[in-house]
């Protein structure tokens, strides 16, 4: 799709023969719009940061989908403040990397925990493992380099920092982020009506518990 370039204009890029990457600052708004009003030819939409990957019903659906997505995007405006929901996640800050992270941030343990709890986080997108959310909004000093070699097992409920992200491991998996604490909240529970409690756009706040 030959389109003039500009900061807010979408770009389309094929990913194989049956998926399209749509790069746009309105990725989250487009995802919400496609959930509310699905487009013919689009089987599934998967969000990431400023990116929405569209899995197509058939490889040949691509050209028509690009046109309808561009038209849909033209009707959307940025939705400030995300979803309007806020999730408070209780955290016991006793992770094996807590002191390392505090030192890396140049803070003592209490100040580090206070800074992390003061951070206004937001669910950017879900992925990696069922219920895992990539939380954006970490202030620069709290951004931690990932481990050189991932741990083979990260316990379920671990609260972790990796690159620009914060996250909570919903169940035991391998993981390369720095572990600062743990929460009793379950982010993937099939016995609930909504097995995954958070959605892109939700605000998230960590709250220290004893």
């Amino acid at each position: 799709m030959p389109a003039p370039s500009g900061p807010d204009l979408p770009t389309f890029e094929w990913l194989g023969d049956a998926a399209l990457n749509v790069r746009t600052l309105l990725a989250r708004e487009l995802y919400a719009s496609l959930r509310a009003h699905p487009l013919p030819g689009v089987q599934e939409a998967v969000p990431a940061l400023d990116l929405l990957t569209l899995l197509l019903d058939a490889p040949t659906a691509g050209e028509a989908v690009q046109e309808t997505v561009a038209a849909r995007l033209a009707t959307l405006t940025p939705a400030p403040g995300g979803s309007g929901r806020t999730l408070v996640v209780p955290v016991t800050f006793d992770g094996p990397d807590l002191d390392w992270c505090a030192a890396h941030a140049g803070l003592d343990r209490a100040a580090f925990v206070a800074a992390l709890c003061a951070a206004q986080l937001e669910v950017a997108f879900l992925g990696f493992t069922p219920g895992f959310a990539f939380l954006t909004g970490l202030p620069e000093p709290l951004r931690m380099p990932r481990l050189d070699a991932p741990r083979e097992r990260v316990p379920a409920g671990s609260v972790a920092l990796g690159g620009p992200w914060a996250g909570v491991y919903p169940r035991e998996t391998p993981g390369g982020w720095r572990l600062v604490g743990r929460t009793p909240m379950n982010f993937f529970d099939l016995s609930r009506a909504a097995p995954v409690p958070w959605r892109p756009g939700d605000r998230v706040r960590f709250e220290a518990r004893a």
Binding site: E13, W14, L15, G16, D17, A18, A19, N21, Y31, Q43, E44, A45, V46, P47, A48, L49, L51, T53, L55, A58, P59, T60, F125, L126, G127, F128, T129, P130, G131, F132, A133, F134, P145, R146, G163, R171, F188, L190, P195, V196
Partner: protein, 323 residues
């Protein structure tokens, strides 16, 4: 479950095989971080279901490398499609790619296969299983769907939905519809934005070997190539058939249970028409990757889909008009 002739219903798993799990067409909730799942050889799934008059996405049993032994407590119409497994019904050879009538009390034994890796066992009516996000597919890693979210164990009970019984009819499936089972594979691929000239040369010009690390999440290849390193790379959504290149340079072809997002470079994607072949990649098999154009990929998909749909339609007619 259906009441049946005063006896037990369904079937009992006597031996589970290497890894047998309930699968169907999978789920579409990647946006919640949930992998797609579903039968790794969708052609085998569709044709096996069509042979017994099921919808294409009905749940059945995916068998891997060595199959299960199952005792039937009620009559059933079954079909086994996929790699050329040895299978018997009460000791008599069971033909693959056919609808076969099983009588109450008979035992199905699915043995091993010399080529390929997987087959799909369909039962008329479709297997029951724990339905999660619209699919009964077993997610072995996360532990949900199918039979308690795991591969079969001895003593597990399989049940299926009652459908009016139909007699098996002779129906022929053209061999060229079947997913090829190696030992050498040629996979057609398309490049992504990550495909550099160097990667094109190192990935496309040589044979690779499928390593023993080949499961429902992905098939790792043995030989390594020089991999670009970009620790700051953001995680982006995965699609079926993506070739991931982790820092050690040993490529991974993604299968249905792969995680929904990944942070490694992904220079190639297997075309849709060749995705079923990934489900038959067996450790030790060799493969080459051949780059094609998107037009080639579309044409291959249309040709395959037309032939499959025609076969499915004819097989269903054969069952519906049976007796």
């Amino acid at each position: 479950m259906s009441p049946s002739r005063g006896g037990a219903v369904g079937a009992t798993v006597l031996r589970p095989g290497v890894q047998s799990s309930v699968q169907d067409a999978g789920r579409r909730v990647r946006a919640l971080g949930v992998p797609a799942g579903g039968a790794a050889d969708p052609v085998a799934r569709r044709l096996a279901n069509a042979l017994v008059g099921n919808a294409p996405d009905a749940a059945g049993l995916e068998v891997t490398l060595g199959g299960p032994t199952v005792l039937f407590h009620e009559a059933a119409l079954i079909s086994l499609c996929g790699a050329p497994f040895d299978a018997t019904l009460d000791g008599a050879p069971l033909p693959l790619w056919r609808a076969v009538q099983v009588q109450t009390g008979q035992t199905l034994t699915v043995g091993g296969t010399a080529r390929g890796l997987r087959a799909f066992l369909a039962v008329r009516g479709g297997l029951h299983g724990h339905e999660v996000f619209g699919s009964r597919a077993t997610d072995l890693r996360a532990g949900f769907g199918g039979v308690q979210g795991r591969a079969l164990r001895p003593g597990d009970h399989l049940t299926w939905s009652p459908l009016p019984a139909q007699a098996a009819r002779r129906a022929f499936i053209a061999p060229d519809l079947r997913t090829p089972t190696g030992p050498h594979h040629e996979l057609r691929v398309l490049g992504t934005g990550d495909l550099t000239a160097d990667l094109r040369e190192s990935l496309l010009a040589r044979p690779f070997t499928v390593s023993p690390q080949a499961d429902r999440m992905g098939a790792r290849l043995t030989e390594s190539v020089a991999a670009p390193r970009d620790p700051a790379r953001p995680s982006v959504p995965n699609v079926p058939g993506l070739l991931q290149l982790p820092p050690d340079g040993r490529p991974i072809l993604l299968l249905p249970d792969a995680g929904t997002h990944g942070g490694y470079p992904t220079p190639l994607v297997v075309i849709t028409a060749d995705l079923p072949r990934l489900g038959q990649l067996r450790p030790g098999d060799t493969l080459t990757l051949r780059e094609v154009t998107r037009e080639d990929a579309h044409a291959a998909h249309l040709t395959q889909e037309r032939a499959l749909r025609q076969a499915e339609w004819m097989l269903r007619q054969a069952v519906v008009s049976g007796k």
